[in-house]
């Protein structure tokens, strides 16, 4: 047994571990720069973010080591227990959590806080992998789809109550996992279509247009008119160019999709204009470059973009970015840490960072594909998808391609919960991967 363990450890994917260490240390360097305080220049100073991040790094390295020594089977067998444990924490935080920025997302432990939502993805990943790899789970069946949706949706719902919309959005990542395991590709296409149509609805719904005969009306009606015209054109096209026996089906498709898209578009516009609170609406407007009424509502977005732009090709140099050093971006060391990298390391530095993340994600995907156990493969996809989702939203937010949603950049952003959560997530997979040859199931 002891021997077996040693053999397994030699099979750990050291390339991924190296990437991990690079990201963690490079992240720490940039946290030091972003949070730099001339009166506390010591990088291990515990009163500053960089000092505390060093502590988090040490804990994370320890956790990583522990995960590598665990039995892979342990995660499979205890998946439900782990899932249940984190769901319980999510429920508990709603009761005893302390409120930070209007969300009850943190357990306070002394001067530190623990954010259970950062860990809950591990539970979801494990249970989802276990369920999908169980015999009988087929995404063709509605039952499978519903159970999977339940596994993902239940903790997501609890996080939504906190409310922490940003963390909920990262749960969308599991769509990729399910797609890989057989969920219809139409889900992705419909999802993409919904994003495009939703943006159009928001943009047109925010203004008014002077219609002939009807006068000044909400701009959303222009979209309604266009969709209706397209539907009519589609019907005319089907009548004239399609063989009769196919027509009936196509008529149905056109009718259903027209009604669905109209309902979708009207409700998106209604929700944005009337249901959302003004600061959420402003964030969406800022992302879509639409005019915002309140002065300064787009401050973070503007400052992030300026900071990124300030980097130029080669960057301003480490600890020398004027926007970063003068704290133009609020709390830059957390969710906006990418802007510090972009400013001080320039376009090349940003490319290296994004490239590293893309390579890491692709590497994890490829590693997932080499698993003999479906459990390990699904879990690998979970890890890759979660990293991808965080990269997509976090970097997108900094460079103005996504709304301002407060989620961390994995291994990079300041914060103990997120660093430990991502470390556990990754190293559980690295353990599973190291065992891939031991398992014949």
């Amino acid at each position: 047994m002891k021997n077996q363990q040693n053999i397994t450890l030699t099979r750990v994917d050291w390339t991924t571990v190296s990437i991990y260490i690079f990201l963690v240390l490079f992240g720490w360097m940039n946290i030091y720069s972003a949070a730099y305080d001339a009166s506390h220049p010591f990088i291990f100073d515990f009163s500053k973010e960089y000092g505390r991040q060093f502590l988090f790094i040490l804990i994370s390295f320890f956790l990583a080591l522990v995960m590598l020594y665990m039995e892979g089977d342990f995660f499979n067998k205890l998946a439900l227990f782990i899932y249940g444990f984190f769901v319980l924490l999510l429920a508990l935080v709603l009761v005893v959590g302390k409120e930070v920025n209007g969300a009850k997302a943190w357990f306070g432990v002394g001067s530190f806080g623990i954010q259970p939502s950062e860990f809950s993805k591990i539970g979801v990943g494990l249970l989802l992998s276990k369920y999908i790899s169980s015999t009988g789970a087929k995404f063709k069946n509605w039952k499978t789809r519903l159970v999977a949706a339940g596994i993902i949706g239940f903790p997501a719902l609890l996080i939504l109550i906190q409310p922490d919309v940003g963390s909920v959005l990262t749960f969308v990542a599991f769509i990729f996992v399910m797609y890989r395991e057989g969920l219809s590709g139409n889900v992705l296409i419909i999802g993409l279509g919904a994003i495009v149509f939703g943006v159009l609805s928001i943009v047109s719904g925010a203004g008014t247009i002077d219609f002939p005969f009807f006068g000044e009306q909400n701009g959303i009606y222009l979209l309604v008119v266009i969709v209706t015209i397209l539907a009519i054109l589609g019907i005319v096209f089907v009548r004239n160019f399609i063989v009769p026996r196919n027509r009936k089906l196509l008529y149905w498709i056109i009718a259903v999709s027209t009604v669905a898209s109209l309902l979708f578009s009207l409700s998106v516009s209604y929700i944005v204009e009337n249901v959302l609170e003004s600061h959420h609406r402003e964030r969406i407007y800022v992302m879509l470059s639409m005019p915002v009424e309140r002065e300064g509502a787009d401050y973070n977005s503007q400052m992030a973009k300026i900071t990124v732009g300030s980097g130029g090709v080669f960057g301003q140099g480490y600890l020398q970015g004027p926007m970063t050093q003068n704290n133009y971006v609020p709390e830059q060391w957390t969710d906006f840490i990418f802007s510090a990298v972009a400013e001080e390391w320039g376009f090349f530095g940003s490319l290296v960072l994004i490239g590293t993340f893309v390579l890491l994600i692709i590497r994890i995907i490829n590693m997932a594909e080499r698993q003999r156990s479906q459990f390990s493969r699904v879990y690998g996809y979970c890890v890759a998808s979660i990293f991808f989702m965080h990269l997509l939203i976090n970097v997108g937010m900094v460079i103005g391609l996504a709304p301002i949603i407060g989620i961390p950049l994995p291994f990079f952003s300041y914060g103990g919960s997120s660093l430990m959560g991502f470390t556990l997530l990754l190293f559980i997979f690295l353990r599973l991967d190291a065992e891939r040859l031991n398992i014949f199931r």
Partner: protein
């Protein structure tokens, strides 16, 4: 069913997003300069280096106007961390409400949280020194120096003028000024704004990670500020101060000019105020108080008050008539008091004695000879038109009825009525000399300002010419005055004609003259009193003069409102000023006390 190929789709999606983000970064960081420029605009401050405004000295090198450094306490909202507001309020001396409203203002339009806004304006150096050591505890708060004007002598408020933040109207006309810049608002500060202001410099700085401001490109882009030019004013600070003292509790003014150069030696408008009142934080309140004061201290009586000149105008009348040849010094006119009243016992004076006695019928007759010159025998109405035109031409050359080309902002022209004026008033050919004879003794429609009266004294002192009165004798230490103040304006009256007028003026101050109170032992003063009727209130006391007779160093006009006889009130003031200026002492202490104690403000 096998879904292995879906790996490719997912890897493709990840890669495409990676490429899209890379392209976006390419646009933000490399291709598009917009964001970079905005960053530079935010972090590389263009610091305006304000040149220190030029100083003003008096003619003897005494400092009249200088600069004082004060500090504005600024806040940069983005750098503010949560702080102990109670301790801060106590430190800087604000109430909690003032602090919160100040902070709120600093982030509301047009202020933004990444640009500094003032929280407390214009703290004195001791005030600022007290708090500056503690300020490091409050990130985001810092002091910036500004300079204010101060007036160490506390004299000559209206003459020196004041400085304040530029207002909207001025800003639209002067594109090279910015919001918050200071600009001269009146007096020398306004007239010589261009010279005093200097040229702004620019420093480009950025803050490094230690919070220290450093020069961009080692200061190669910086433009140095050019200090404002110092001015040497024409006034004599001691004389000005003495004049202001003599005029205390009175309304009126004193103008003293050096005849040979047109340099204003003193320009007193009473009641006056301390020019330091219109500086700094208290300016607004003080300005409102002065502006609503019923005695009008902000009104420069020396240059803006338009009075009827009264008897002193007889001097100009005499000279005009002599030049025209309509009278000679020997001409006698009977003092016929039927048409116009007179005073004193005389009946048939020649010119000299008519001036000494200020004989009204005599000068009615003098002007009649000028105006009714029989130049158009067909009608006395037509004749008067021609005559008045000629008369007006001469009178205007004394500097009456038009802007003296002075450097004092806001001077008034006065009024010398002519043909068109009376045509408008009475109708063409509806008036003759008999309609307008009040002009002959400086009454009627005639209006002149005290500085024009003093200019008349200069013309007589110079025997025929004057230099425009001005207040700055050197632009830059050792420099020259403006070119227009090196020009002599000739009145067109021959020097010979002045002898009789000057002799008469000497007698006015001599034994039995109306201004005998003004007589000095060693200095021969030539003067002329006036007493301007002002029903139903007391008369205005007027006196113009120059001294010494043969080598005039100083010419003066004194106007005391509602004081009574010119000889009793205006002449002694002039006399003491002359003595003070020429000998630096005042011998007649009893007379000085009488003047200092007089109070005409309530009349």
């Amino acid at each position: 069913m096998n879904f292995d190929s879906r790996r490719i789709t997912i890897i493709l999606i990840v890669s495409v997003i990676g490429i899209i983000y890379a392209l976006r970064l390419l646009s933000l960081q490399v291709i598009n300069d917009e964001w970079k420029n905005q960053g530079v605009a935010l972090t590389e401050k263009e610091v305006i280096v304000y040149p220190s405004r030029g100083l003003i000295y008096d003619r003897k090198g005494r400092l009249l106007v200088t600069n004082q450094t004060v500090y504005d306490l600024m806040v940069l909202p983005k750098d503010v961390k949560p702080f102990d507001t109670t301790a801060f309020c106590k430190l800087v001396g604000l109430s909690y409400e003032e602090l919160t409203s100040g902070l709120k203002k600093a982030v509301s339009w047009p202020n933004v949280k990444y640009k500094p806004s003032p929280i407390i304006k214009q703290m004195t150096p001791p005030e600022y020194a007290r708090i500056s050591e503690e300020l490091y505890k409050y990130p985001g708060f810092f002091g910036t120096p500004r300079t204010l004007r101060i007036y160490p002598q506390s004299i000559g408020a209206l003459l020196l003028g004041d400085v304040a933040e530029i207002d909207k109207g001025e800003l639209e006309q002067k594109p090279d000024y910015r919001r918050g810049d200071y600009i001269g608002k009146s007096g020398i500060e306004k007239a010589y704004e261009e010279e005093l202001r200097g040229t702004r410099g620019v420093r480009y700085v950025f803050r490094d990670n230690l919070g220290i401001e450093r020069n961009v490109a080692e200061g190669k882009l910086d433009v140095a500020a050019v200090e404002g030019t110092d001015l040497i004013a024409t006034i004599d600070a001691e004389l000005q101060r003495y004049g202001e003292e003599l005029m205390q509790n009175k309304r009126g003014c004193i103008v003293a000019i050096e005849p040979s150069t047109g340099e204003v030696l003193a320009l007193v408008s009473a009641p006056t105020y301390d020019p330091n009142l219109l500086v700094g934080r208290t300016r607004g309140n003080n300005f409102r108080a002065l502006n609503s004061d019923l005695q009008k201290p902000l009104f420069n009586r020396a240059t803006q008050a338009q009075y009827r000149p009264g008897s002193i105008f007889k001097l100009a009348q005499s000279l005009t008539a002599l030049q025209l040849g309509t009278i000679t010094p020997q001409t006698r006119i009977v003092c016929n008091r039927g048409i116009i009243g007179c005073h004193g016992s005389h009946s048939n004076d020649d010119l000299e004695m008519a001036i000494v006695h200020s004989c009204n019928p005599y000068f009615r007759g003098v002007m009649q000879r000028v105006v009714e010159g029989d130049r158009d025998p067909s009608s006395r109405f037509k004749d008067a038109r021609i005559g008045l035109d000629i008369w007006q031409g001469y009178i205007k050359r004394f500097g009456f009825g038009s802007n003296l080309k002075t450097d004092i902002p806001g001077v008034k022209t006065g009024l010398v009525p002519g043909v068109s004026y009376y045509d408008k008033w009475y109708g063409e050919l509806q008036w003759a000399y008999s309609t307008i004879y009040s002009l002959s003794i400086g009454e009627g429609e005639m209006l002149i300002t005290p500085i024009q009266m003093c200019n008349l004294a200069c013309v007589i002192a110079n025997r025929g010419w004057y230099v425009s009165p001005h207040t700055v004798k050197q632009i830059g230490n050792g420099g020259k005055p403006r070119d227009e103040f090196l020009v002599r304006y000739d009145t067109g009256i021959d020097t010979a004609h002045f002898r009789v007028v000057v002799d008469a003026m000497e007698k006015v101050v001599g034994p039995g003259g109306t201004a005998n109170r003004a007589k000095l032992k060693d200095i021969v003063i030539c003067g002329k009193t006036g007493t301007v009727q002002n029903e139903p209130k007391e008369d205005h006391a007027v006196f113009v003069c120059f001294a010494p007779k043969d080598d005039p160093k100083i010419a003066m006009a004194v106007y005391v409102e509602n004081a009574g006889f010119g000889g009793t009130w205006a002449a002694p003031i002039a006399s003491m000023m002359i003595e003070k200026y020429l000998t630096d002492t005042v011998s007649n202490k009893a007379e000085e006390k009488r003047i200092l104690e007089a109070n005409f403000l309530d009349r």
